[in-house]
């Protein structure tokens, strides 16, 4: 009898959670856009997925008004010092020349923080530069060449870190992670998006998520593109052949 009661309670709870999750996921399509005044700030977060992903993401950001999109949070993967350097190079060049929207970021500067080596960490960057930005490091969901059967372990570790930064800290400190999150792949950015989804399920402030598919994707979406398409607020591709007529997303042409 007691067991029946417990199990039916569990069922009700589970049904409630499922309803909440499904309503959040479905509601994403209808989530109304906010309205902002011209002078209002917008906290921007961007995931730098290393290599070409980082270059493209920073290229996109270089076009933005950094007074408006302020502060900025750069999320990088563990061990990706190069992305941190490139982000810092962009910040420095924007600070020196705020109107320049064609800053070259392909070659990162070196020696900006005095440590001159490749192990320079985000915290050492932050200490040196009191710019309105932070660099946040999260564990990789999957390393290159990592065997597929160990991926759940690393992915879980990555998810916990994302939840810590996106959900837990804002919840405890009564702040928000960001107003908008820009993603362009690869894998780990999906994990970041899951943490944002958790915020929505819990009903706490969550950033709008914008996904921009890489310039390199001409005829088929990347895996992260396929995974994120139903979850993000805005799904943008750069080649027209990538979108079927009845599916969500838009093509804005070449953005980088």
């Amino acid at each position: 009898m007691d067991l029946d009661l417990v199990s039916s309670c569990l069922c009700v709870c589970l049904a409630g959670i499922l309803w909440r999750v499904s309503s959040v996921v479905l509601a994403r399509h209808r989530k109304p856009r906010p309205t902002r005044r011209h002078s209002e700030h917008c906290h921007l977060a961007v995931f730098l997925g290393s290599g070409g992903h980082t270059s493209e993401a920073l290229m996109l950001l270089s076009a933005l008004d950094f007074d408006r999109y302020s502060p900025r949070t750069y999320v990088i993967s563990e061990g990706d010092a190069l992305s941190a350097r490139k982000a810092t190079a962009l910040e420095l060049s924007k600070a020196a020349n705020p109107d320049n929207s064609t800053v070259r970021i392909s070659s990162p500067i070196s020696g900006y923080c005095g440590c001159l080596n490749r192990t320079c960490t985000a915290s050492c960057l932050k200490g040196r530069l009191r710019e309105p930005y932070t660099i946040l490091t999260i564990p990789r969901a999957r390393r290159v060449h990592q065997p597929i059967y160990t991926t759940p372990v690393t992915a879980t570790r990555s998810l916990l870190a994302c939840i810590y930064h996106v959900t837990l800290i804002p919840l405890v400190a009564r702040t928000s992670f960001a107003d908008v999150l820009v993603l362009n792949g690869p894998g780990t950015c999906f994990i970041l998006c899951l943490a944002v989804l958790l915020n929505q399920i819990l009903g706490i402030h969550s950033p709008r998520v914008v996904y921009v598919e890489s310039f390199a994707r001409v005829r088929s979406l990347s895996l992260s593109g396929k995974l994120l398409r139903p979850l993000v607020d805005r799904f943008v591709v750069q080649w027209p052949g990538l979108l079927e007529a009845d599916r969500r997303g838009e093509c804005l042409g070449w953005l980088v």
Binding site: M59, A89, V218, L255
Partner: protein, 200 residues
């Protein structure tokens, strides 16, 4: 901002010698991936001869691991091969930035990485790309084909490199548009609820 824009092209192409056409420089890059077939292809007689007919007198090869593993003999063979066609050959594995090499080159032969393609096309340099067939998820081929269809570059295989270099008509290449950040900016401003910018 990082590359000093004032860097003049090296003396290689400097004072024009008598009536001979300007000496040209070619740059070959494999990026951070392994692409030994391309490194080997540019050392073949056919490709060197094709470069020579284009007036190329110096060639720099960024060859990644393939060059790192070169022994002294192989390196010498590479320079000697070039010398037979009057081409100074220089090869090295990696460099943090290739921007200066792109700027110096009159012709770039490259793997089909999207970053390299963007960097080179924005400098309006003639570009021949060779998608690496050993990459499993080969969307490089798609990008190369799409940009070749639009006339921005030429694409070929290591086997057809010599003919492609020889028959390349620089004037027929369509200039690639410069970076325009306004579309992303306007999209994000709209998404975040900012009023549209007043037209200037």
């Amino acid at each position: 901002m990082s590359g000093p824009p004032s860097t003049p092209p090296p003396a290689e192409s400097g004072p024009a010698t008598e009536s001979s056409p300007r000496k040209k420089h070619a740059f070959v890059t494999v990026g951070s991936t392994r692409f030994d077939a391309l490194v080997q292809a540019v050392q073949t007689d056919a490709v060197l001869a094709a470069l020579r007919t284009r007036g190329v007198s110096s060639l720099t090869v960024q060859g990644g691991e393939a060059v790192r593993e070169f022994n002294a003999e192989q390196l010498q063979a590479a320079t000697a091969g070039g010398a037979r066609y009057g081409i100074d050959v220089e090869a090295w594995a990696y460099k943090p930035s290739l921007q200066e090499d792109y700027e110096r080159a009159d012709l770039v032969i490259s793997h089909a990485g999207s970053g390299t393609i963007l960097d080179v096309l924005r400098l309006r340099k003639p570009l021949v790309v060779i998608p690496n067939p050993s990459l499993l998820d080969n969307h490089q081929q798609e990008l190369a084909d799409a940009l070749a269809d639009l006339g921005h570059l030429k694409t070929c295989t290591v086997d057809t490199l010599a003919q492609t270099v020889e028959s390349l008509d620089e004037a027929s290449l369509v200039p690639f548009p410069q970076f325009d950040g306004s579309r992303f900016r306007e999209m994000l401003d709209e998404e975040m609820g900012y009023p549209p910018e007043p037209p200037k």
